[in-house]
């Protein structure tokens, strides 16, 4: 019984936010994420974001094979050794570290692939899932760069600043996500 209470996010009082808990209230987690705007704005003079870092990493990898890619201003701007570029790469690496630590401390164990995918995709083949994941990642980041931001840059930061661009992009993001999940995926 206590194990279930633990899995459900802690004690009966409901606000156990120990690192050992398997789940926190989405409101506590959301406030913590929102507060990260303070160091982002004060120390780095930017807002939370994630998708630019993919251009930084991809652009550097591409420049090893194709040095001419650095002639493209957009790529050159993203792979320049600036604090903002590398702060964001460090940020997303930190996300992996934080999630790893949080999982280890709580004792949650994940399967190699979430059990929802065999239902959503109608097959339990890992190869199919890997192929879909690669294509999804490609479309996701290509789209994020077209829109000039992702769920973090447009969603968390742009909407908090009441930017018109971000509100349009987030509405389109949910529309695209809902349409895809309802039309292409099976109900989980």
């Amino acid at each position: 019984m206590s194990e279930i209470a633990q899995a459900r996010g802690g004690s009966g009082s409901g606000f156990a936010c120990s690192l050992k808990a398997k789940a926190w209230s989405p409101y506590v987690a959301g406030i913590l994420i929102g507060l990260l705007q303070v160091p982002a704005f004060l120390l780095i003079e930017t807002a939370l974001g994630a998708s630019s870092s993919y251009v930084t990493v991809g652009g550097i990898a591409a420049s090893w094979i194709d040095p001419a890619v650095t002639n493209i201003d957009y790529v050159a701007k993203h792979i320049a050794a600036t604090g903002k570029n590398w702060w964001q790469v460090a940020l997303v690496i930190g996300v992996a570290i934080g999630a790893f630590l949080s999982m280890r401390i709580s004792g949650a164990r994940r399967q190699p692939i979430s059990p929802i995918w065999s239902r959503a995709l109608g097959t339990s083949s890992p190869g199919v899932r890997y192929a879909v994941a690669f294509g999804a990642g490609f479309v996701m980041l290509f789209g994020a760069r077209v829109a000039d931001g992702c769920t973090s840059g447009h969603g968390l930061s742009g909407m908090a600043q009441l930017a018109v661009s971000s509100t349009v992009a987030v509405a389109a993001m949910f529309a695209g996500g809902i349409a895809t999940a309802l039309l292409l995926l099976r109900r989980i």
């Binding site: 789940a23 926190w24 989405p26 406030i31 994420i33 705007q37 120390l43 251009v55 991809g58 890619v69 993203h78 604090g83 702060w87 940020l91 930190g94 996300v95 992996a96 570290i97 999982m103 709580s106 949650a108 994940r110 692939i113 979430s114 059990p115 929802i116 239902r119 959503a120 994941a133 999804a136 990642g137 479309v139 996701m140 980041l141 290509f142 760069r145 077209v146 000039d148 992702c150 969603g155 968390l156 930061s157 909407m159 908090a160 600043q161 009441l162 930017a163 018109v164 661009s165 992009a169 389109a172 993001m173 695209g176 996500g177 809902i178 349409a179 999940a181 309802l182 995926l185 989980i188």
Partner: protein
């Protein structure tokens, strides 16, 4: 701020971000796909709470004259087309560009493919940008905000936005308590394959 300092700050902030994403369970594919199929509302709750909090703290910093706002420029075609592609990718990845890294951190193997696909997609955009930019970002109204459209000040609009979001969240929580969306293995999975401890009565038993 030196490069090394920026990287250290990034790693520390990212670690906090990663803990929050993992503890809220919003990084789980079951939460993202579930949200897009209207079966699970944890993603919306985390997202709207973070937006409301961000609006309040940025407004406070702005009010003290400590920071400048940095809204992105509006290009309607780019925002709509890019947003639709981003959303389609999010549904099929079961992740956002940031939460993919949390999935990698907890050991989801398919997330490595999402990550590689993402790097490939961002690189492809880098190559295509000189061609695409004139099409997608030909003209637009610039870095406009709802303050420009309404004439209200940022603190007023930020507090108003936060108040509206809090009302929406209170309503959401009364309609659907967050614990009901976790699932037995806290991954948003309510399927027949999961260990049977679901609290939802409307689910059919295994076929």
């Amino acid at each position: 701020m030196s490069l090394v300092q920026s990287i250290v700050i990034g790693l520390l902030m990212g670690t906090v971000f990663g803990v929050a994403l993992e503890k809220s369970r919003v990084f789980e594919p079951g939460m993202i796909v579930g949200q897009m199929q209207f079966r699970n509302f944890i993603m919306l709750k985390v997202f709207l709470t973070a937006v409301a909090t961000g609006a309040l703290v940025i407004a406070a910093l702005h009010g003290f004259g400590l920071v400048k706002l940095a809204p992105k420029a509006t290009f309607y075609a780019a925002d709509v087309v890019g947003g639709l592609m981003l959303g389609a990718g999010i549904a099929l990845a079961g992740a956002c560009p940031g939460t993919v890294l949390a999935q990698v951190g907890v050991g989801y193997r398919d997330a490595l493919f999402t990550l590689l696909g993402g790097i490939a997609g961002a690189t492809a955009f880098g190559y295509a940008e000189p061609v695409l930019k004139p099409v997608l970002a030909a003209s637009g109204p610039g870095k406009i905000t709802f303050m420009d459209l309404t004439g209200l000040s940022y603190p007023v609009m930020a507090v108003g936005l936060a108040a509206v979001l809090v009302l929406i969240l209170v309503g959401l929580e009364m309609w659907r308590p967050w614990r009901a969306d976790l699932g037995a293995d806290v991954d948003g999975d309510f399927g027949p394959a999961a260990p049977a401890k679901t609290t939802r009565s409307h689910l059919e038993p295994a076929e």
